[in-house]
Symmetry: C2
Subunit: 244 residues, 2 copies
């Protein structure tokens, strides 16, 4: 039988938003590997495990570590915040897995910030939507800019990941300026910070106001589509059902 290696989406952080199968695999495994911040969120709930971490720019090394530990016969879980796929490690794990043909990779999905943040705000993504990361560490800014502009033209609701970091404090402002070429300044938008963790906070804005919003690397941003409205402080994109 092939050895198995798990890539797990742990959801936003709160144990209640992890799926049952992910929790079961974590409880059964020997070794949990991931990015330091997210692995630390698991240490209390999974005592007695071996925890291995690598910092942000060491993703390929982190994956190789996971395969090497699994090759020794350990039950290994690579954890990702949110989903295992969406800006997660499942792609890189399957790429690196080519050189470990005896180890099978199983991907266990998780609730990504578009869904968990959406639930906090209300219902911003009820209809067609696009997800765009503003991180230009691995993607040219011109490509990000083009995706934002075309997503706005297509009238998608848009969910923005990684809106800011220390090295690029003004990226959300730049993204808003691109969106404002296509969308009206009063378009309903929202942000959620620290989803499912201490300090969770949601806020509504117009697109014009969002341009000045203070965001950080733990903020997820939502841009409404042409139908999105505010109902009692919540962000709601109708699907189009006739009421009454």
């Amino acid at each position: 039988m092939k050895k198995k290696l798990y890539v797990i989406g742990m959801g936003p952080g709160e144990a209640g938003l992890m799926c049952k199968r992910a929790a079961e695999v974590l409880a059964a495994c020997d070794t949990i590997i991931g990015y330091t911040v997210y692995v630390n969120l698991l240490k209390e709930s999974y005592p007695g495990k071996e925890f291995l971490t690598t910092p942000m720019t060491q993703e390929a090394k982190r994956c190789e570590m996971a395969f090497e530990e699994a090759a020794k016969g350990k039950q290994v879980a690579m954890v990702c915040s949110g989903d295992a796929g969406v800006y997660g490690m499942s792609g890189l794990m399957l790429e690196i897995g080519e050189t470990y043909p005896d180890i099978e990779v199983e991907v266990i999905p998780g609730i990504t910030a578009a869904l968990s943040g959406g639930a906090v705000l209300g219902a911003p993504l009820t209809h067609d939507f696009a997800v765009v990361s503003l991180s230009d560490r691995l993607t040219p800014w011109e490509k990000i800019e083009k995706r934002l502009e075309l997503a706005a033209e297509a009238d998608f609701s848009i969910c923005i990941y990684n809106p800011s970091s220390k090295g690029r404090p003004d990226y959300l402002k730049r993204a808003c300026d691109i969106l404002l070429r296509v969308l009206p300044p009063e378009r309903i938008c929202g942000t959620v910070e620290n989803i499912g963790r201490e300090g969770e906070a949601a806020k509504l804005y117009t697109l014009q106001e969002l341009r000045e919003a203070q965001v950080n690397m733990f903020t997820t941003v939502f841009i409404g589509n042409s139908m999105t409205k505010e109902i009692n402080g919540r962000m709601v994109t109708p699907r189009g059902y006739r009421i009454g």
Copy 2:
């Protein structure tokens, strides 16, 4: 204290892919309301509950039922397949909630088919992506067509919901023809059927082949971006990490 009404994303169907908080709320509630097919998946796991259903075109009535039952003092959960937001009922619930100011709506997210199906295929949505439904019951076809075309131009990976139904057996073919105006015929695509349920099946295609694929209302379709490749029978969109 305000009465509370829950809108729950139950994930694809398998209990292991439901989040813990959703399972806890279902276990604690008196009444579970939803579309017949999905409510039936829950009957065995939650014995002793009151189950209420309405058919496909009665969504507003279903939501009103939920508020009326909650107004009587019952603990009520409205369930949606996948996520509570993505093509789910949270938007309509918040709209109808305007006429029930004494009842607070709490949204509990779930794993939508883009994530659960993506995990089965491998890692199709590792980078920026768009989600488009081909159902034109509530959306003009011209708008769907425009969204597909702009999503392809933006080089998003695209996840397609509702690719077919009895009344519109050729919609996926029509969608592929639109995508083929922009994308090459050899673009890597994939489908997943009955995710997390009996009969789960994944398959890879080129975009040209996908045009002829047999799909149904329980199929989710994935269109790769320009970087997507096949690795050992799995669909993988690299995020761009340098390997080695």
